[in-house]
Amino acid sequence: MVDQLPNLGREAEMLSAMGYTSMDDLFSDVPVDVRMQEDLPLRPSQTEEEIIADARRLLGANVPLGSMASFIGAGLYRNHVPAAVFQLVTRGEFLTAYTPYQAEVSQGMLQAMWEFQGLISELVGLPVANLSVYDGSSAAAEAITCAVRVHGRKATQKGVVYVSELVPPDRWSVIHNYTQGGGIELRKLRHLEDGTLDPASVAEAAGACAVYVEQPNPLGLLDASLVGVKDIVGEHTAFIVGVNPVSLGLYEAPGHYGADIVVGEGQPFGSPMTAGGPIYGIFACSNAYMRQMPGRIVGRTIDEDEQTAYCLTLSTREQHIRRHRATSNLCTNETLIALMGAMHMSLLGPEGVRALAVRNAAALHAVVDALQGVSGVELVHPDGHHFNEIAVRLPGTAADCITALEAHGVLPGFDLGRWSDDRADQLLVTATDQTRPEEIERLATAMAAWCAEVVA
């Protein structure tokens, strides 16, 4: 504490300069009946060295994925953030700045975010992107409220939005919380047995305010039928696609097959998983949605000398101006994490992002290969193309499998029973660019041993 408060020991001097004699004088306006009478019942202060020792002990008790053969993903992905990213993003000028209200001394972050918008725009194939929202889930939710604001009038199914039934319950819950206040009705967009969208369900959605679907879907499946969705739902229904941005290094940008809004979890670009946050949400749209977007947006402009400059723009959408009529309540967002994303993307370049996607695809390919050699394990969608992850059916519950494989140092995936009871025997197995061949071997060996045991 001593090293944090520069005026410790100078209180008397400062108080007396104001004509006061004690700290209490400065709190004389706090009515007696609301004053705290005792010391806070908390622990004593610690030094940097003690804190770091405790942090080492506590965080050391967590099990980092790198210490096991790990195949858990389900929305967050192991990646490698190039070393330069951490070293640059922790520069005090980025790290310790606030929102760039004073553009003249915030050109660095403003330009970086303008560039971020351009990188995302190019990646997803839409003309406009904001400088990120909280995460992929609130991005999905905000996309829906945005679509309703745009289409509320003309929609034939007023207030109705169709959301892919595969959307995991946690994400669904976020969407629900964000949309219920606007009187939005969420209906399920159904999928067929093979995991692809049910065309009949898509047809039903025509005339609703929006449809929300993910590509790859939460089971890792790539669905070629998405290419036709916009044509079916029509002009007045927003086609919203949630993406894993890494997949776009290899697969078509949704903006190129009719998506009106593209959202997603930006995390694999630039951010470690960090137990789920801070991460950042991607939000991009076509021009028609621009003035109803949530979040901050940077525009390029000029200064008094007509030099290129950058500033926040389209602010009249925002809470500090529009207050309860704002397009969103966003204030503090995830700029720094988006900056890490921009840095990562700028290092990758067009060929690099493709190579990264290929590495992810290849790792999953190797995993599938290995698992197909394990008797007892079946692919849930054997005919589908997958990216990053795949659902497999086990001879027992996924929960048991996860427990059993821990002894082998393997975390084999995510228990899909947590998403839906009827998937209790399904495991979502994830591979990324960071998956190592030894891990795959260990997975296959341990899985084979467990299956043999279960079946016996």
Binding site: P44, G276, Y310
Partner: protein, 498 residues
């Protein structure tokens, strides 16, 4: 300076990667979905990338570069050890869906934070899930909404907000579906109890308010306001953005609040990162606790064989009984919570001293400015935003006199301060103070810095209007044309530059 797209490496330039585990030709790709055209990203080598972002950063102002008296934002120093801790594999390389026994250290930290925040605010339970103050507001308002639905009081569809409230308060309440009732403040910037009473009835779900208020004043009538709102069956919501002023001296609980959000990134110093990330936990009284988003962290006696991080205690996730569900898909901004935990540990029960110093510095600076202004004979050019003896952690000045006398606006003063090497105070907020400058020095600024700022501020006020209108001149760019930006929207690299 250059933008990213000015870098023109050859195809294949940039970050080099290991070969894929399986050759591309052997992959079973979804051919019909393959991307036809690569994203037109620029191509930079690492040297170019490092220099690009280094130079961008050099065109940015942070607390590390200078005094940052941005009112309402609590721009305090970010202890550096926190960044070291936040990069340990036990946080970075951890997945939120790992089993509980993989995450005992993290759960212990969460539990400690829930406890500490509850204690400091006088609340009963805390969730760490919201990732920013505004999301915290929204979450708490949702809990209140479900609480009333559960009680059969669905008619409570309105939320009271003072006219000086931060924009996120009405925006969050509206997002949850509430109607906003704005109440005016008194002339000196405080709650107008009569005006409040006038709007209260059984359609009121809650009142949202911050204390000390947006003018930096302690709301001395807060207990009375609580009583009034509670009197009609409504809930009191505490916007914790100004919590830095009061820790250990009073608490929302003592003032009668039912729910509160914390801006951890302000009070507990998660670096603001040019706009985020943040962390906006909420605390509630027991009656609202069943509605919190889940899971929260709870503790039970450890069973035999469980490897604990605290002897005999096993930390586990718990789903509140009537949970509203989730506002973030995982467990919130765990990395930010961790940094704030490290910050908390640095003070422990001396958080009270921290708040005292925040208030000391604000009052000292206010006095110093007025004294310097009097000495320099420019004290007629501005007035206090609100009459008060003591401010709390921040204070407002109105440049209205300068505007009337010389045509110098709050914005001109702000830009003049940029030229002196300072970040400008918050300008034009709250709207109730004309030509407002809102100044919050925080506890981590040295007396010398405050003395120097007071002098320099007064010097800027005394600068001739023409110079101020032309300011800033020493910054990376001159005054930026925001109107041009809005009229000529250019939100990404133009096609022609690709």
């Amino acid at each position: 300076m250059n933008n990213l797209w000015d870098h023109t490496g050859a195809a294949g330039a940039g970050y080099a990667q290991p070969a894929p585990l399986v050759a591309e030709s052997e992959l079973n790709l979804a051919t019909s979905l393959l991307r036809k055209e690569a994203p037109r990203w620029p191509r930079l080598s690492e040297p170019e990338m490092v220099r690009h972002y280094t130079n961008l950063s050099r065109r940015n102002f942070g607390i590390d570069t200078g005094f940052y008296p941005l009112g309402s934002c609590t721009m305090k120093h970010n202890p550096r050890v926190n960044e070291v801790i936040a990069q340990m594999p036990g946080i970075c390389d951890v997945h939120p869906h790992q089993p509980e026994h993989h995450l005992q250290g993290l759960l212990a930290i969460f539990h400690e934070m829930q406890h500490m925040l509850a204690v400091c605010a006088g609340m009963d339970e805390v969730t760490l899930q919201p990732v920013a103050g505004a999301q915290g507001e929204f979450t708490a308002v949702r809990c209140i909404q479900e609480y009333f639905r559960e009680r059969g009081e669905a008619q409570r569809t309105r939320i009271v907000v003072p006219d000086s409230a931060h924009g996120t308060n009405p925006a969050s309440a509206a997002m949850a579906g509430f109607e906003i009732v704005e109440v005016p403040s008194t002339e000196d910037g405080r709650i107008d109890l009569q005006a409040l009473e006038a709007v209260l009835d059984d359609t009121i779900a809650a009142m949202m308010i911050t204390n000390p208020n947006t003018l930096g004043l302690f709301e001395t009538d807060i207990a009375a306001a609580s009583e009034l709102v509670h009197g009609v069956g409504g809930q009191m919501y505490y916007d914790g953005a100004n919590f830095n002023a009061i820790i250990g001296r009073t608490s929302p609980g003592l003032m009668g609040f039912d729910a509160v959000h914390y801006n951890l990134h302000k009070t507990f110093s998660q670096p603001h990162g040019g706009g985020g990330p943040g962390s906006g936990p909420i605390g509630v009284k027991a009656h609202l606790a069943p509605f919190l988003p889940g899971p929260v962290v709870d503790v039970r006696d450890a069973e035999a064989g469980e490897r604990t991080v605290e002897a005999g205690r096993w930390f586990h996730w718990r789903e509140p009984e009537h949970s509203i569900g989730k506002v973030q898909q995982w467990h919130g901004n765990a990395g930010a919570v961790l940094r704030c935990w490290a910050f908390y540990r640095r003070y422990g029960r001396d958080l009270r001293t921290m708040s005292e110093h925040a208030v000391l510095n604000a009052n000292y600076l206010r006095h110093a400015i007025h004294r310097e202004a009097k000495d320099a004979g420019v004290d007629h050019l501005f007035v206090d935003g609100a009459r008060t003896d003591v401010a709390k952690h921040e204070f407002t000045l109105s440049m209205q006199p300068a505007k009337e006398a010389l045509g110098v606006t709050a914005m001109d003063i702000a830009k003049g301060l940029l030229d002196m090497g300072y970040m400008a105070p918050t300008v034009y907020f709250p709207l109730v103070v004309p030509e407002c400058l809102m100044i919050e020095p925080t506890e981590t600024e040295a007396k010398d810095t405050l003395d120097r700022f007071a002098k320099d501020f007064v010097a800027v006020v005394g600068t001739d209007p023409a110079t101020l209108h032309a300011a800033p001149v020493t910054t990376p760019v001159r005054r930026v044309d925001e109107v041009y930006a809005a009229r000529n929207l250019c939100l990404r690299v133009p096609e022609d530059d690709l």
